[in-house]
Symmetry: C2
Subunit: 419 residues, 2 copies
């Protein structure tokens, strides 16, 4: 079976590669026209997309999917319109391909340019939300890549209907439908083949829960752009303005406690204990559970005792770990030990100290005096993101269309030979 | 045994990580002082380095190493001086860490910067040349990384002596000697553990022959920066100036036929056949063997018939494959099929056509009217390189100190919360 899947992926990959190469010969406007035509097709096909989704929902209900999962799976007119509008927003972004990232001349007259080019063939593996089909296809097409999509088993009919609408857009713009392919089987063996398809797949982006991401990271032999955890920290330095710090902490935890940029542990400087009362009060009022070390627990009887497991936990919930530290070094040591390299930062009025602190964080995103919930492609001004990466190579932080490109050196000569 | 090696690598990796984190707290001048002190130590210790090398040479001779391998292994006063001078040249390079790669402000007043930071802990696996010990240590230190080195078994004593001299430099500048560690065993199991040490090793750079690189790429579970093949092409378009094209082709093949940037296949446009006579004559005069398709063979009786294997072969020798193509599309198709994504290009007077051609090459380095032998960090102005990469992510082409950094987003606020 494994060989059959390998050959399936090799076939899809070759068709994707050749479509992607042909795309390089086309003009960039063609990609945008395809995105707009795909948006129009989403609207035209809204009824059949919603109908397909109803069948997924029915089957999901029969299989006993939980309410949260069913809500993620559900499509209605509003959600289809959001997909279409999302594709138009991607079309409006500047072309990430062909940007001259660097340009210099050598003493021998050679001109060397670093130019943004597509990465190649990208595999996207995701779970129940069917809108990822449109988003991922749109972001990959905009950046000149070909994509092979593998959505969740519970959304098969929805994903097929969305993919069919996208294909109408590609065809309307005269582009090869092999630029966006759906894996034709839900068998896990095909995912395994895709993750090992060195030479056919240039990068894999998993979108979904921690179990999915962990499995992809463990099995992949091709590069993976993802984050496993967002165990994010803020360190409250005594130089911080207490009102500013309180507002940022409350927002970082409670705006949406379930997103990967949410704050999970607050490191409170021992010299700032008497300034944090307001923040603690507001968190508790908003229904946030607080779990602290012994010194934190002494601040308020409603703070529960934390265990070591709390420092490691990404709650993704209205729970915040609290730890008192005796200064920046202790805060950095705690983050180095327990952090996940996603988003960490400092609340401080002392800008020099803050700059030094940020420079010593390993995190993809290092924040000074702002909410960790800004860890988002839209908030960064990237327009849209396919995910957030915490690896150290290629792209870190929000992955938007620019991050879906790599570069090529162009060496422009007039007959130079090497001595 | 595998568990023992895993625990060894985990131990080395943790010491490397903590040394690298401490380095982030130091000023950049300290790294340069260490590099200069290491250069001075190389010179001071030249006698003992050469003595250690003599013992490696003796043992190599007894084990029947070939003359080419023994030459690569050999150190003398001149080669030790070259290592020392190389470290000083690295110290003279601008600091790659802390460069602000991008800097923008959001409508809410958030300032976002993309700042170059070290990659982390780098593993370098190499073969007989002991100078790689000094070069790799120097490049990694300059870029703020910690490195774990694993040299060839035949150079164990030489590598230890060079490493000891480097450690003197680190200590003289007050830096942690764990920034540069030698793997204390030559057992292949330890290499296997290093290649799987996710979380401890952030990237591996193999330096050596194709067998070594292929093995590392196959076994690694951490990112690898390398190139397997340099099967490089030039396409000779009829608009090319024949004298320029001939000079470039001869240089690209014959300057040093054994380097990875050497030309391996010349794709001759059918409309340029009568212009290529000079180039063919000069290649033959210089002792280059030519292997061509039927149309090429008709040009000169000294051209041998090529087989399909020739299109796939990186000769690394004074042999050039010749193929007649009927235009740019055929040339691109040939390169797409047989190229290795290293360095390919076009010889053409028509600049628009050349620009389009470069944009359709998948290669890390795309060349117009210049020798492929410019595929080199020094020639690019990078000062020094740890290798050439042909992967599509992170760094492509020459890997110098800038390419040994990644970046971090710094989000600088004044109390911004997310709506």
């Amino acid at each position: 079976m494994s060989e059959a899947f390998d050959s399936l992926i090799s076939d899809l990959g070759q068709r994707a590669r050749s479509a992607m190469r042909a795309l390089a010969a086309s003009d960039s406007g063609q990609r945008d026209r395809a995105l707009r035509a795909a948006a129009a097709a989403m609207r035209d096909q809204a009824e059949s997309i919603i109908e397909a989704n109803r069948s997924d929902m029915r089957e999901g209900g029969q299989r006993g999917l939980g309410e949260a999962l069913l809500d993620r799976l559900r499509l209605d007119g509003e959600r289809v319109e959001a997909m279409a509008a999302g594709l138009e927003a991607i079309a409006d972004l500047p072309d990430p391909v062909g940007r001259v990232l660097a340009d210099w001349e050598r003493p021998n007259g050679l001109r060397i340019q670093r130019v943004a080019v597509p990465i190649g063939v990208i595999g996207v593996i995701y779970e129940s939300r069917p809108n990822v089909t449109a988003d991922a296809a749109g972001l990959c097409l905009k950046s000149g890549n070909a994509v092979i999509l593998r959505g969740g088993s519970e959304a098969v009919a929805s994903n097929r209907a969305i993919h069919a609408a996208f294909a109408i857009g590609l065809e309307a713009a005269g582009l090869d439908s092999n630029l966006v392919q759906l894996l034709p089987t839900q068998d896990h063996g095909a995912v395994g083949s895709l993750l090992r398809a060195h030479g056919h797949i240039d990068m894999v982006v998993p979108r979904g829960g921690k179990r999915l991401v962990a499995r992809v990271q463990a099995d992949a032999r091709v590069p993976v752009l993802a984050h496993l955890d967002g165990n994010n920290h803020l360190y409250w330095h005594p130089s911080a303005d207490p009102d500013m710090a309180a507002a940022v902490v409350v927002n970082a935890k409670m705006r949406r406690p379930g997103i990967c940029g949410a704050l999970e542990t607050l490191l409170l400087d021992a010299r700032a204990l008497d300034q944090a009362g307001n923040a603690i009060e507001r968190l508790l009022e908003l229904g946030c559970e607080l779990r602290g070390d012994a010194q934190s627990c002494a601040l308020d009887s409603r703070i529960q005792a934390a265990t070591d497991a709390d420092w490691e936990t990404e709650y993704l919930d209205a729970i915040l770990a609290l730890k008192v530290v005796d200064g920046p070094e202790s805060a950095l040591a705690h983050i180095a030990r327990y952090g996940s390299g996603h988003t960490d930062g400092i609340l401080a009025g002392d800008a020099d100290l803050a700059a030094t602190f940020l420079g010593r964080l390993d995190s993809a995103i290092a924040v000074h005096n702002a909410s960790t919930q800004f860890a988002d492609g839209g908030e960064f001004g990237f327009g849209a993101e396919i995910g957030i990466a915490t690896g150290r190579l290629h792209a870190r932080g929000p992955v938007g269309v620019e991050q879906l490109t790599t570069f090529q050196y162009r060496v422009l000569g007039s007959g130079q030979t090497r001595a």
